[in-house]
C-alpha cells in the first residue's frame, strides 16, 4: 500500500458520498452519504499520520473521536428525522421546503 493509493480510495469514497448527498431525496439516504464522506476524511487522517512518519497513534486517537462524534450526530439526526416524519409524514427533501423565500 502506498499513500497515493490510500488517498485515491479516500477521494473516491468522498466523491461517492458527495454524489449521494446531492442526488438522493431521502433524508436517511443523505445521512448515509454524509457518513461516507466522514469515513473518507477519517481514512485521510489515519493515512497521512501513518505514511508521513509521525506517531501513528495520534491519528488513530483523533479518528476514534471522529467516530464517536459521528455516532452522536447520527443519533441526533435520526431523532430529528423521526420528529419531521411525525409532523410532515414525509422525509423527502423536495417536499420539505418551508423556508423557501
Amino acid at each position: 500500500m502506498s499513500l497515493p493509493l490510500v488517498l485515491g480510495v479516500a477521494t473516491a469514497l468522498f466523491g461517492i458520498g458527495l454524489y449521494g448527498l446531492l442526488q438522493r431525496r431521502s433524508l436517511v439516504a443523505m445521512l448515509i452519504a454524509l457518513e461516507l464522506m466522514l469515513a473518507a476524511i477519517s481514512i485521510n487522517v489515519v493515512a497521512l499520520t501513518t505514511f508521513t512518519g509521525h506517531d501513528p497513534s495520534m491519528g488513530q486517537v483523533v479518528v476514534l473521536i471522529f467516530v464517536g462524534v459521528a455516532a452522536a450526530e447520527v443519533a441526533i439526526a435520526l431523532s430529528l428525522f423521526v420528529a419531521i416524519h411525525r409532523s410532515a409524514h414525509d422525509i423527502d427533501v423536495e417536499h420539505l421546503s418551508e423556508l423557501k423565500g
Binding site: 458527495l18 448527498l21 446531492l22 443523505m30 427533501v93 423536495e94 420539505l96 421546503s97 418551508e98 423556508l99 423557501k100 423565500g101
Partner: protein, 630 residues
C-alpha cells in the same frame, strides 16, 4: 406692597386660579365650576372697586415693578403693575362685565355639555384682560394681548365640533395675528432702543425732547397701530368680527364690550403719549377709523342676523372711540369705551334672550316668536338701542357727544360732518333692529307661540339668571353717561370743560340726526303696515355689496387667501412628494431588495449544499493557485 398693588395682584390671581382649578379638576362638576368662576370674578370686582377708590378717585398713579428677566448690562425687564385712573377704571369695567356675563351664562348655557369648560375659558379671558389692563410693561402687555387672543379663539370656537364656529375661531385668530406681527416688531424695537419697555418711560422718551427721534416714534407708533387695527377690528382687518358671531351669545357680549376688541382701543389710550408724538400716524388712524365707522354702519343697515347687526355696530363704535383718541382726547375715547361696554353687553344679552327663545339669529324669525313676552329682553334691547343711537338721557349720547366735540375741536369740518352722518346711520340701523325684532312681522307662527308658553315655567330660574344682568345693565345705561366730567378731569386734564348737558349747535345736530334715523327706521319698519324693506334693500346691487362686507372677504379670498393656499399646496407637494417620497422610496427599495433576494432561498437543502461545495471548491482552487487577491 401697598394696598392697591395687592388688590391688583389679587384681581389677576383670582380668575387665573379659578381657570386652572376648573380646567384641571372641575370639568365634570359644572355647578361647582360656575360657582367658583363667579366667586373669583366677585373677588376681582371687589379688588377693582378698591383700586378705583384708592387710585382713580384721588387721581394718583402708582408703578410697582419687580425685575423678571435680569440683563447683565441693562435695567432688565421689569414686570409689574401700573395703576392710574385709566387702568383702574378699565379693570373695574372688565371685572363687572365679565361677572355680568358669567351670571347671564348660568341661564344661557345651562345644560350645555361643555358648561364647566366654558366657565374655565371665561375665567381665562378675565385674567388675560385684567393682566393686559394692569400691565406696567409693554412686553407684559404683549403677553396678555396674545392671551386675550387665545381666550377669544377658544370661546369663539367653543362649539368646535361644528364647522362654522371652528372656521370663525381660526379666522379671528389668524386675522388678528396679521396685526400682531406689527405689534411684536414695535415692542422689540422699543426694547432695543430703550432697554426696557416700562410704559411711563416709553411715553417720556417719545415726548418732544425725549430720547426718541420723531422718525423712530412714528415707525413704532405705526407698528403698534397694526396690532390695534387687528385687535379692534378696524379698517381692512375687521371681517373676523362678524364671523365671530358663531360663538355663544354671552361670549359675543364679553368680546365686544370690555375685552378683546376693547384691548386695541385701550392700548391706544394707554400709549396715547407715544401716539400723540406721531401726528402722521394719528391722522391716518383718524381717517381709517372714520371710513371704518361709516362702512360698518352701512353693513349693519342690511344684515338680517341680529348678532351681525350688533357686530357691525361694535366695529363702528370702536371706530368712534379710536377717532376720539386720534383727535387727541383720551377722555372722550375712553368714556365712549366705558359706556359702549355697558350698552353693547346689554344689547348682546338682550339679543341672546330672544335667540335662546326662538333658536334663531334671524330678526324676522325672532319677530315670529312673540319677543314682547320677554320683557327684560325687550327693555334691554330698547334701552341699549337708545344708548347706541345716542338719544339724550342714555349713556351713548354723552360719550358720543364727547367724541364729536373732540373731533370738532381738533379734526376739522370734513371729519366732523362725516362723523355726524355716521351717528345718523347708527340711529337708523339700531332702530331698524329694534323694529324688525320687536314688531311682529307678517310671518307669525302661532304653533311656536303655544310651545314657547309651555316652556316658560321649567326655565324659570335660567330666565331669571339671564334677566337680572340685563336689567342691571339697562339701568346702568342711564347712569354711566353722567361720568363724562369725571373722566375728563382725570384723563384729559387742562381740556376745556363741557357740561354734561351743554346744548349747543353740535349736540342739537346730533340729536336731530338720531331722531331722523329713528324716524326713517320707524317709517320703513315700525309703523303699522310698513313694507319692512329698507331703502338700501330696494337696490339689490348695493344691498349685496353692503351685506357681503363690501366684498372685502371676496377680495381677500381672491388675493391673500388664494396666495396662501397656493403656498400651502406647494408646501404640501414638497412634503408629500420630496420629503415623504425620499423616506417612502428608501423603505420600498429595502422591501423590494428583500423580495428579490428571497428568491435565492429555494428551500432545497441540496441546492444549498451544492452551492457550499462549489464555493469550497472555488476557494480550494484559488488557494492552490497561490492564494493571492487578484
Amino acid at each position: 406692597m401697598s394696598g392697591p398693588v395687592t388688590a391688583a395682584v389679587v384681581a389677576q390671581a383670582a380668575p387665573l386660579a379659578a381657570c386652572a382649578v376648573i380646567l384641571l379638576w372641575l370639568r365634570r362638576r359644572p355647578g361647582t365650576a360656575a360657582a367658583l368662576a363667579i366667586l373669583a370674578l366677585t373677588v376681582a370686582l371687589g379688588a377693582a372697586v378698591y383700586m378705583v377708590a384708592a387710585v382713580a378717585v384721588p387721581n394718583t398713579s402708582l408703578l410697582a415693578t419687580s425685575v423678571w428677566l435680569p440683563v447683565s448690562d441693562g435695567p432688565g425687564l421689569a414686570f409689574g403693575v401700573l395703576l392710574d385712573s385709566l387702568s383702574s377704571t378699565m379693570a373695574l369695567v372688565v371685572a363687572a362685565v365679565t361677572l355680568a356675563v358669567m351670571v347671564y351664562s348660568l341661564g344661557y348655557m345651562a345644560d350645555d355639555p361643555g358648561f364647566a369648560r366654558y366657565y374655565g375659558f371665561l375665567a381665562l379671558f378675565a385674567w388675560a384682560m385684567l393682566g393686559l389692563v394692569l400691565a406696567s410693561n409693554l412686553l407684559q402687555t404683549l403677553v396678555f394681548w396674545e392671551l386675550v387672543g387665545l381666550a377669544s379663539f377658544l370661546l369663539i370656537g367653543f362649539w368646535f365640533e361644528r364647522p362654522g364656529p371652528a372656521a370663525a375661531a381660526r379666522k379671528a385668530f389668524i386675522m388678528t395675528r396679521v396685526g400682531d406681527v406689527g405689534f411684536l416688531l414695535g415692542v422689540l424695537l422699543l426694547i432695543r432702543a430703550a432697554g426696557n419697555a416700562t410704559i411711563p418711560d416709553l411715553i417720556a422718551a417719545a415726548a418732544p425732547g425725549g430720547a426718541f427721534t420723531p422718525g423712530f416714534t412714528t415707525t413704532v407708533a405705526a407698528l403698534l397701530l397694526m396690532g390695534v387695527i387687528g385687535k379692534s377690528a378696524q379698517g381692512p382687518l375687521f371681517t373676523w368680527l362678524p364671523d365671530a358671531m358663531e360663538g355663544p351669545t354671552p361670549v359675543s357680549a364679553l368680546l365686544h364690550s370690555a375685552t378683546m376688541v376693547a384691548a386695541g382701543v385701550y392700548l391706544v389710550a394707554r400709549m396715547h403719549g407715544l401716539f400723540a408724538a406721531a401726528p402722521d400716524v394719528m391722522r391716518f388712524l383718524l381717517w381709517l377709523s372714520l371710513i371704518t365707522a361709516l362702512a360698518a354702519a352701512t353693513m349693519a343697515m342690511v344684515a338680517n342676523d341680529i348678532k351681525r347687526v350688533l357686530a357691525y355696530s361694535s366695529i363702528s363704535q370702536l371706530a368712534y372711540m379710536l377717532m376720539g383718541l386720534a383727535a387727541g382726547s383720551v377722555a372722550a375715547g375712553f368714556f365712549h369705551l366705558v359706556t359702549h361696554a355697558g350698552f353693547k353687553a346689554l344689547l348682546f344679552m338682550a339679543a341672546g334672550m330672544f335667540i335662546h327663545h326662538a333658536h334663531s339669529n334671524d330678526m324676522r324669525e325672532i319677530a315670529g316668536h312673540t319677543p314682547g313676552r320677554q320683557r327684560a329682553g325687550a327693555i334691554g334691547l330698547v334701552a341699549g338701542s337708545l344708548a347706541l343711537a345716542g338719544v339724550i338721557p342714555f349713556s351713548g349720547y354723552f360719550s358720543k357727544e364727547a367724541v364729536l366735540a373732540a373731533l370738532g375741536e381738533h379734526a376739522g369740518t370734513a371729519v366732523l360732518a362725516l362723523a355726524y352722518a355716521g351717528a345718523g346711520l347708527t340711529a337708523y340701523y339700531s332702530f331698524r333692529m329694534v323694529f324688525l325684532t320687536l314688531r311682529g312681522g307678517p310671518a307669525q307662527a302661532p304653533e311656536h307661540r303655544a310651545g314657547a308658553g309651555g316652556h316658560a315655567p321649567e326655565h324659570g330660574r335660567s330666565e331669571l339668571a339671564m334677566a337680572a344682568p340685563v336689567l342691571v345693565l339697562a339701568a346702568l345705561t342711564l347712569v354711566l353717561g353722567w361720568l363724562g366730567a369725571w373722566f375728563a378731569s382725570r384723563l384729559s386734564p387742562g381740556a376745556e370743560e363741557h357740561g354734561a348737558l351743554a346744548i349747543g349747535a353740535g349736540p342739537l345736530t346730533a340729536l336731530a340726526l338720531a331722531a331722523a334715523g329713528i324716524a326713517l327706521a320707524w317709517l320703513e319698519y315700525g309703523r303699522r303696515g310698513a313694507a319692512r324693506i329698507g331703502f338700501v334693500e330696494r337696490m339689490p346691487a348695493l344691498r349685496d355689496f353692503f351685506a357681503d362686507n363690501w366684498y372685502l372677504d371676496r377680495l381677500y379670498a381672491a388675493t391673500v387667501v388664494r396666495a396662501a393656499k397656493a403656498l400651502a399646496r406647494a408646501a404640501r407637494w414638497h412634503d408629500q412628494t420630496v420629503l415623504d417620497g425620499a423616506g417612502d422610496g428608501f423603505a420600498s427599495a429595502t422591501v423590494g431588495g428583500g423580495r428579490l433576494l428571497a428568491h435565492l432561498q429555494s428551500g432545497y437543502v441540496q441546492m444549498y449544499v451544492s452551492v457550499a461545495v462549489a464555493v469550497m471548491a472555488a476557494l480550494a482552487a484559488w488557494l492552490l493557485g497561490g492564494g493571492k487577491l487578484a
